[in-house]
């Protein structure tokens, strides 16, 4: 009811401010809305401008007409008292839903009008867009020029690649590949010998067992169920990217690293290297030909198994693996791994002070 009366009565009583945008166009804005922008407000109070079309207040260069319209929408909502915090939040959330180019323009315009709450809002939104993205993605999103050389990009890596676990992982991976190759050689010899009759059985088996095609498939399935979410991420990352990582890592690794550092670093975490050994020992025998006689199409299956094992290993080794990889990846400009939600900040510590209350 009261809203209705306001809508009817107010317009006649409202006073307006004349405002000119950088392109020269002049428009009228409700005074209370215009006064919400500190820059305009100051202009009105100090210079008395804006009272007529000939004395319009000119806006800073950074405020173009389209963006100024947005800013007025923002001011119109927020200058009205009586909105609850929730309403304001909902408005703000909707308000910043726009493409990044506009969001940047809006930030710039709000800054030039000293509209601090809007600058806070948009810069938070921009930060949220940047957060967790790889440099490549950020560049793409914001149309940043890719004007650094690979060498320059690698500079900050010096520190990051110093992680002994990554090296362990790589070493393991290299070992596995070598084994795979050897086995393939061996297999090729076998295949040459008994070529024809095993073929159909093999197809059948791989069909029944799916792509895992061996007894260990059961085990991993169980695993998969248990940590389905994490597994999903890891699976994605391993199947898509592990090769990429590996290659990428090696190629980037060598120029920015010297051997001395490597050795001294590896010796520190004893536990990790022990873990590595035991893991290797554990799954090595399994790889040996317990299912060799049925598997002649070795390459893809073995490859997959290998990926799975490396991935298992990585998981066992430490759960932040995807993130570390991501760091390296993104710095090295490769495809991004899905970031695990593993940094749950287990903030239980304050309980001590609370529970005794």
């Amino acid at each position: 009811m009261s809203v209705g009366t306001m809508a009817v009565v107010k317009p006649e009583m409202k006073s307006y401010i004349w405002i000119q945008t950088a392109d020269g166009s002049i428009q009228q804005v409700e005074e209370e809305v215009a006064m919400f922008c500190p820059t305009i407000c100051r202009e009105i109070i100090h210079t008395g401008m804006g009272t007529s079309k000939n004395y319009a207040i000119s806006l800073p260069q950074r405020v173009n007409p389209a963006i100024f319209g947005l800013i007025l929408d923002y001011c119109r909502f927020h200058q009205v008292p009586g909105h609850s915090n929730k309403e304001r939040k909902i408005f703000d959330e909707k308000f910043i839903r726009m493409d990044t180019k506009r969001l940047c323009e809006l930030t710039s315009a709000a800054d030039s009008l000293q509209l601090k709450p809007l600058v806070d809002l948009t810069s938070r939104a921009l930060a949220r867009i940047i957060e967790g993205k790889t440099p490549e993605e950020i560049r793409e999103t914001f149309h940043l020029p890719d004007d650094l050389t690979e060498e320059e990009k690698l500079e900050p890596l010096n520190n990051v690649t110093d992680d002994p676990r990554i090296r362990l992982l790589n070493r393991l991976y290299a070992k596995k590949r070598k084994e795979l190759k050897e086995r393939e050689k061996l297999k090729n010899v076998e295949v040459e010998e008994e070529h024809v009759d095993e073929r159909s059985v093999d197809d059948l088996l791989s069909f029944i067992n799916g792509e895992n095609g061996d007894s260990k498939g059961v085990k991993t399935n169980k695993n998969r169920k248990k940590n389905r979410r994490r597994k999903y991420q890891l699976k994605e990352s391993s199947s898509n990217n592990l090769n990429g990582i590996h290659k990428d890592f090696n190629s980037h690794h060598s120029p920015c690293h010297n051997g001395e550092l490597n050795d001294s670093e590896v010796s520190t975490p004893n536990k990790t290297s022990k873990l590595q050994c035991s893991t290797t020992v554990n799954f090595l025998p399994k790889i040996d030909f317990d299912d060799g006689d049925i598997d002649d199409d070795l390459d893809p299956a073995m490859k997959e198994e290998l990926d799975r094992e490396v991935e298992d290993f990585a998981r066992r080794l430490n759960s932040d693996w995807p993130q570390r990889m991501q760091e390296i990846l993104s710095l090295g400009q490769e495809r991004r791994l899905v970031q695990g939600s593993m940094n749950g900040n287990g903030s239980t510590r304050r309980c001590t002070s609370l529970d005794s209350r």
């Binding site: 938070r124 914001f142 650094l148 320059e152 992680d163 990790t272 932040d320 993130q323 209350r357």
Partner: protein
């Protein structure tokens, strides 16, 4: 590795599209400050323009996001974290306004001394250090020379300021938890921070007398073990939450002493919100509790009290407080469960010649009750004296006897026709 072509001369379209890089430096700082430090530092490989933009961000936050290693390997995490902080501090230029160090695997290592020394040379305003593990970390003396500090937050630290320490002249907010400091150090610290507005103390040792002399203090949140709390010049104090974590010794409860309740409120003329937690009501009940305070708490609109409904002294103190709070709008009563048992106290809250004493009371919560006589009497007392009551929420400590409790509640007369009673299962 593919060889990148030499960078092209920046074409016009690209610079036009790149609105982000062309934002004013302080806006970019603001954006970067809202990123986890890892993401902020990583922007250095974006483009030439972004090479060193991160290096001037005034806010440095090293928390769980900056090394998300959940490894059992302590040294590994520690080394990683130390590396990162060293690296960032070395490359950072310009003032550091805020520094926060809080990682769940962080021990009080000597590396922190070095960082504090470094940032103490900057005009640091906000300093937050949380040592989650291990022994108390002794804060180096250089921290006490940070005269621009506005907010100081320490967790699991030992404070021993140098004798030359003259206080933090600009400090407005102090948050100390799991902290050790000597009695004289504590008093000196509080009284030499004249601008102090917010004070939080949780689980402290080394001092037992809380003499709070702070003319600008508005917010005071404390929980711990202490003998005594005295306010001095705290006329602006409006929000107080206070919990005494041990039962009051019986020799202190001997009547005859001057009443703590009176002493407590003398310097709190403008209190708006008060939470009395754990055993603090028992502390307040020491001495001869008057029937009401000489000067009512006219601004008090929220009161939360942890009470043993069986203990006469505590009920007396609570009644005194309620009588002295004419403008109370919200009340929360929490029964101390460990002491609930046989109802011994009866007819205490029956005296209802205080008609409509809660003239403003709208919302009441009564939690953790076990259905004993004095609890029911108290509920009856509130219902019959609150003419504008809108909602009373009752939650028992255990579901046993819930039905009987509800039956009793239904019988009570309500002074407010609008009052609804919400019974929550425990």
């Amino acid at each position: 590795m593919k060889q990148r072509e030499p960078p092209k001369s920046p074409c016009k379209i690209e610079t036009e599209l790149d609105k982000l890089s062309n934002l004013p430096a302080h806006v970019i700082d603001q954006i970067l400050s809202q990123l986890p430090i890892k993401d902020a530092v990583r922007t250095s490989v974006l483009s030439k323009k972004w090479r060193y933009k991160w290096a001037t961000i005034p806010h440095l936050v090293f928390d769980n996001l900056c090394v998300a290693i959940s490894s059992q390997e302590q040294t590994l995490v520690k080394n990683k974290l130390v590396n990162i902080v060293d690296h960032v501090l070395l490359l950072h230029t310009g003032p550091i306004i805020k520094f926060k160090l809080s990682h769940r695997d962080l021990l009080g290592v000597s590396d922190i001394d070095r960082w504090i020394l470094h940032i103490s040379r900057s005009s640091i305003k906000e300093f937050i250090l949380e040592i989650w593990k291990g022994q108390r970390y002794k804060v180096p003396s250089c921290l006490f020379s940070c005269q621009n500090l506005i907010h100081l937050e320490l967790f699991n630290c030992l404070l021993k300021p140098p004798s030359t320490f003259k206080g933090f002249r600009n400090l407005k907010s102090l948050d100390l938890q799991h902290i050790t400091l000597a009695q004289d150090v504590f008093e000196n610290l509080i009284s030499s921070c004249p601008m102090l507005e917010r004070l939080t103390l949780m689980n402290f040792d080394g001092f037992t007398h809380l003499n709070i002399d702070a003319p600008n203090l508005q917010f005071f949140d404390i929980g711990g073990v202490f003998d005594d709390v005295n306010f001095e010049n705290t006329f602006h104090l409006a929000l107080v939450s206070i919990g005494l974590y041990v039962n009051v010794k019986t020799d202190q409860t001997a009547p005859g002493n001057s009443c703590k309740l009176l002493r407590f409120f003398v310097h709190l003329p403008h209190i708006r919100r008060l939470e009395i937690q754990s055993y603090f009501l028992k502390y307040l009940a020491v001495g001869n509790v008057p029937s009401r305070l000489p000067r009512p708490c006219a601004d008090l609109n929220y009161l939360s009290v942890r009470i043993n409904f069986n203990e006469l002294e505590e009920n007396l103190a609570a009644l005194c407080l309620l009588r002295s709070s004419p403008n109370l709008q919200e009340l929360e009563m929490l029964a101390r469960p460990e002491e609930a048992g046989m109802g011994v106290l009866t007819n205490f809250w029956e005296v209802d010649h205080w008609n409509s004493m809660f003239s403003q009371l709208r919302i009441v919560k009564i939690l953790g009750i076990s259905g004993i006589r004095s609890e029911l009497e108290f509920i009856n007392f509130v219902l019959s004296n609150s003419p504008v009551l809108e909602r009373m929420t009752i939650k028992p400590a255990s579901p046993e006897g819930g039905w009987d409790l509800v039956k009793e509640l239904l019988r009570f007369r309500r002074a407010s026709v609008r009052a609804e009673i919400i019974y929550l299962d425990s």
